[in-house]
């Protein structure tokens, strides 16, 4: 058991390191081409940044599921209705949409700034590591939500964030309205529609019935949390 747990952790750790390197613009083949000494030095630094961030941040999420109606290119749920061709395509066939928001919290921003005081290289490493951690966390939350949906006979589409394709950043405001993000997660939206803390993500996850079954979702399944079960 212990052995398995350790190797599962190793696998997750390796995935985070690989993702951090990817954010730094280093592909796997590029990395392999580096001299052994430089590989080790780089890996040590990436691991150290990941470790500090994981120890000092408190990732958390909020989500809510709504019955969805798509008509004439408009995405409609709750009292919201807006036009987006690309999101409509992503959600086609879906009967529900899950609004998801997640953040590493304000500590991540502070750690990145601290790194920037020490050195530019470290700042880039922390930036990459924090991005990798955010994605990994959102991925895990997504998986949990998809499993819950599966329990209700629904399948999940790949998640889709405001800013993708023709889905404008204005749509962020819907997440802030429906999930009350400042209160729920401490995420705020600037006038320029940027989220603060910076390492925050919002996304739509479309849910569609497996093999034509009709799902039984009523309105607004909400949850928030830190630890995923």
């Amino acid at each position: 058991m212990t052995m398995q747990a350790t190797s599962a952790q190793d696998a997750a750790g390796n995935m985070l390191i690989r993702e951090t390197l990817r954010y730094l613009g280093i592909r796997r083949a590029d990395f392999s081409a580096l001299p052994a000494g430089e590989q080790t030095a780089l890996l040590d630094k990436v691991s150290a940044a990941l470790k500090t961030l994981a120890a000092e941040t408190r990732p958390r999420f909020a989500s809510r599921i709504f019955p969805l109606v798509l008509k004439e290119g408009m995405v409609c749920f709750a009292e919201e209705a807006f036009f987006s061709r690309d999101l409509t395509r992503n959600l086609s066939g879906c009967t529900e949409v899950c609004l998801l928001a997640a953040t590493l919290g304000a500590e991540a921003d502070r750690l990145i700034r601290r790194a920037a005081v020490r050195s530019a290289a470290e700042a880039a490493l922390y930036q990459g590591a924090a991005a990798a951690l955010t994605e990994e966390y959102v991925g895990r939350v997504n998986e949990t939500l998809a499993k819950e949906a599966a329990g209700r006979g629904l399948c999940a589409r790949p998640r889709f964030s405001p800013g993708f394709g023709d889905c404008s950043l204005e749509i962020q405001k819907i997440f802030f309205r429906q999930l009350d993000l400042p209160k729920a997660l401490g995420i705020t939206l600037t006038d320029g529609l940027l989220m603060v803390p910076e390492k925050s993500v919002t996304a739509f996850i479309g849910l569609f019935p497996k093999g034509g079954e009709t799902p039984g979702c009523t309105d607004g399944i909400a949850r928030t949390g830190k630890d995923l079960t």
Partner: protein, 803 residues
């Protein structure tokens, strides 16, 4: 009866939840509840009435989100209607004599600078306008609630205190780990709120009564004020697609009894609670004997996310953020080089400092403005509490206002003029104060004289409403080469202050050894003796190994640090910096320095090797300017070319940049006058509305490597400021960055204004969403796809200039 006459003398009960009840009446998920003050006044009035009938003493107006960030010109009407509806309900219920109306202030939904974009004074103004309207409409008190950021809570509390004379209550929202979303804890928050003049403090929302209990104990142990507790009806759960709060009225009442017994004074309910919760709670709690708040004498200073308690285990106050006697630091303040100041802060924090002293006093600079900038910058990278060190009351006033947390002032003294200037500020901003035992007659020679001054200071402080527990007394360190008995008298003073007057003490230690060789030995011995005599705060250089050793060793010996845990933590052999750097042995061994070794060090990103080789070359008599041209720039070009062709990656490029920067700093110091090595001025800024500045910072590091004088205006910079600085500093090249599609328009506007005001200026732009095409369209001269491209463009601009 007035609320103030009852508060802290008997049980008082708030009302319960609003949102859930309004939703039951048809309020939609994304709909703003405050609009119902105008759209459905009868529903709001009836809700208040139900709570009054259930026994609530204090009604909370339906104004949680009523602020300028959610409403426009309709805002005053919504606030006035909210207060008026509560008043009408109170009149209907015949409770005009014993029920009160709390004007509700929720969070703005914006994050304040430096972490976010909302300026502190804008937040203060936004809260002030709500308070003025609400007080005018007849509210009896102000309730600041559900705060999840210390700085915003401060803005709201200051606004309330400055805009009305009503009692002000303040409660924050802690999560299951006992923290605010922004990281604060009861220990960091409550002393700040009490210091700023709240009439009652406490906790609301997020947790149920059971989860809140440990936090209630903590809050009660921290404050002399009445404590407010308003939990949710448990942690929300999803059942059959609906959010359900699991704690029913009976269990809620039972739990609230326990919370009341734990020392709370004002009880209420938050999300999920109903009139029935409040009714049963009141029934259960009212018969309990009321325990009035107990005066506490703990002294805590804090930042937005951490705290330090003074008077228990001695604390180390880092003294390095101070220009006196430090040439490099003076230069940094003159050049507004905040990065250097921040480096000093992090070094001291790494060495174990508990608090950082901040002094920006330097002739010829605007001390208040620099102090504000330094504090803001420090608070964006460190959570250590700061000690605001200035002799100028105007500087203190500005610093105390923008400081996030409960501040510490350094210092007041027994001179009437000093006390009259400092105490009102300390009172308003709730600061702890270091008090020097000297007055108009100078420094008393003997300990008794210094104690007499201390007693005078205590009396005067009390007249301003500042208790003795908020003062920390400086026994005054005099140089032993000038005053042979100086150390003995100081130590005697420290002991007597503690033992006779039960006061907390502080010393600035380093002066003791002035004029002596090997000063740190003397300082360390003196520090040990002072700690033995009961010193609470040691103002010292945390980077001085002898003093740091003495500090931790004395802590273990005096059993402050039981089992020597802090000592072991501080001196356990750490993995050398080699962990972060490839081993220095990577450099070929050689008999002496050579420019080839320096070049290798830069190419491989070896910071300490680059420093060492630069120093060695300079010692041999190498010309700084020729080193730049012959070693630094060629090495950087090589790295840059490798990066551009994909053979090197960003971290390696930046490691080389860091190494070059370290060497370059030595060159700068070796030059007779600063600036001589600089090739020209470039202004950089991340445009208004955009707060992503990592890209801009990378460009800055590289341009500095290439010996440009970079004026960095930071992020979220207004076009007007970019234009005015460009004109004022005669800038030939401006670099702008924007990361988001939503902020590119602001870049375009900046370019438009620059073109109008300074047509000769060249403009380069960069950022994730930009392309060459986009850059052309918004009228930039150049598009930098990465940091090296920005360097190449700068080189071309400035080579043309010199031609």
């Amino acid at each position: 009866m007035k609320l103030r006459e009852r508060l802290g003398k008997e049980w008082l009960f708030f009302d319960g939840g609003t949102g859930t009840l309004l939703q039951a009446q048809g309020l939609a998920g994304g709909e703003k509840p405050e609009t119902w003050n105008l759209l459905h006044p009868e529903i709001i009035r009836a809700l208040h009435r139900r709570y009054l009938d259930a026994g609530a003493d204090i009604l909370i107006t339906n104004t949680f989100g009523a602020n300028r960030f959610h409403y426009e010109e309709e805002l005053p009407g919504i606030i006035r209607a909210a207060v008026s509806l509560a008043r009408q309900a109170r009149k209907e219920a015949g409770r005009e004599d014993d029920a009160y109306i709390a004007l509700d202030l929720g969070p703005s939904g914006k994050l304040l600078k430096p972490l976010g974009t909302l300026p502190f004074e804008d937040a203060v103004q936004a809260f002030a306008e709500i308070v003025k309207t609400g007080a005018d409409a007849g509210a009896d008190l102000v309730l600041i609630e559900t705060m999840n950021d210390a700085f915003e809570a401060k803005a709201a509390l200051l606004a309330a205190k400055e805009s009305c004379d009503l009692p002000v209550f303040a409660t924050c929202t802690f999560d299951g780990s006992g923290k605010l979303l922004t990281g604060g804890t009861p220990s960091s928050l409550i002393p700040m709120l009490e210091g700023l003049g709240a009439d009652a403090v406490g906790i609301n929302c997020s947790l149920g009564p059971e989860e809140m209990l440990p936090l209630v104990h903590e809050i009660v142990s921290l404050t002399s004020l009445p404590v407010i507790v308003s939990p949710n009806a448990g942690l929300p759960d999803v059942q059959g697609g609906r959010t359900v709060y699991p704690v029913g009225p009976k269990r809620f009442a039972l739990c609230m009894k326990e919370i009341a017994s734990a020392g709370a004074h004002v009880l209420g309910g938050c999300c999920g609670t109903t009139p029935e919760h409040i009714r049963l709670m009141k029934e259960a709690v009212s018969p309990l004997p009321f325990q009035p708040p107990v005066r506490k004498s703990r002294l805590i200073v804090s930042s937005g996310a951490a705290f330090a308690e003074i008077g228990g285990t001695p604390l180390m106050v880092g003294e390095r953020i101070n220009p006196s006697g430090k040439k490099r630091f003076k230069q940094a303040l003159q050049d507004h080089d905040l990065d250097y100041v921040l480096t000093q802060a992090l070094e001291q924090e790494d060495a174990g400092a508990d608090i950082l002293d901040v002094n920006t006093g330097l002739p010829g600079i605007d001390e208040a403005a620099v102090m504000e900038d330094v504090i803001t910058a420090l608070q964006s990278v460190t959570v250590l509490p700061l000690c605001i060190d200035s002799s100028d009351p105007a500087v203190l006033a500005r610093a105390l206002r923008v400081y996030n947390g409960r501040p510490l002032i350094n210092s007041v003294n027994g001179k009437e003029e000093s006390m009259q200037a400092v105490f009102p500020l300390a009172k308003k901003y709730g600061a702890a104060v270091i008090a020097l035992c000297l007055d108009e007659n100078g420094i008393p020679e003997k300990a008794e004289g210094r104690l007499a001054v201390a007693e005078k200071i205590i009396r005067r402080a009390e007249e301003y409403g500042i208790g003795r527990s908020r003062l920390i007394f400086d026994g005054l360190t005099l140089t032993i080469s000038a005053v042979p008995d100086g150390a003995l008298i100081t130590l005697e003073t420290v002991r007597a202050l503690r033992e006779k007057l039960h006061l907390k003490t502080v010393l600035g230690l380093s002066n003791i050894s002035f004029g002596l060789p090997q000063r740190s030995q003397v300082n360390a011995a003196f520090l040990t003796m002072a700690l033995q005599n009961g010193l609470s705060l040691a103002i010292m250089n945390p980077n001085d190994e002898a003093m740091r050793g003495a500090f931790y060793a004395a802590g273990a010996l005096l059993a402050h640090d039981r089992q020597g845990i802090a000592y072991i933590e501080a001196f356990r052999t750490k993995a050398p910096e080699a962990a972060a750097q490839p081993p220095a042995a990577d450099l070929p061994a050689s008999s002496g320095p050579s420019s080839a070794l320096l070049k290798t060090a830069i190419l491989r990103g070896l910071i300490s090797a680059a420093e060492k080789e630069t120093a060695a070359l300079l010692a041999e008599g190498a010309e700084p300017l020729s080193l730049i041209d012959e070693v630094f720039v060629p090495a950087l070009n090589e790295v840059g070319a490798a990066y551009e062709s994909g053979r090197l990656f960003l971290p390696q490029l930046l490691m080389s940049a860091d190494a070059a920067k370290a060497g370059f700093a030595l060159l700068q110091r070796a030059l007779p006058e600063s600036g001589q090595a600089k090739k020209g001025k470039i202004l950089l800024a991340t445009v208004k509305g955009d707060i992503h500045d990592i890209g801009k910072n990378i460009v800055k590091v590289l341009l500095e490597n290439y010996a440009y004088d970079v004026i960095d205006l930071g992020k979220d910079v207004a076009p007007e400021r970019i234009v005015s600085e460009t004109l004022r500093q005669h800038i030939p090249l401006v670099g702008l960055s924007a990361l988001m599609t939503t902020t590119v328009p602001s870049m375009e506007e900046t370019i438009r204004q620059l073109r109008a005001a300074a047509p000769q200026v060249k403009i380069m732009v960069g950022g994730a969403v930009l392309t060459q095409d986009y850059a052309d369209r918004i009228g930039a001269d150049a598009y930098g796809k990465d940091a090296m491209a920005a360097v190449r463009y700068a080189e071309s601009v400035f080579s043309n200039e010199t031609d």
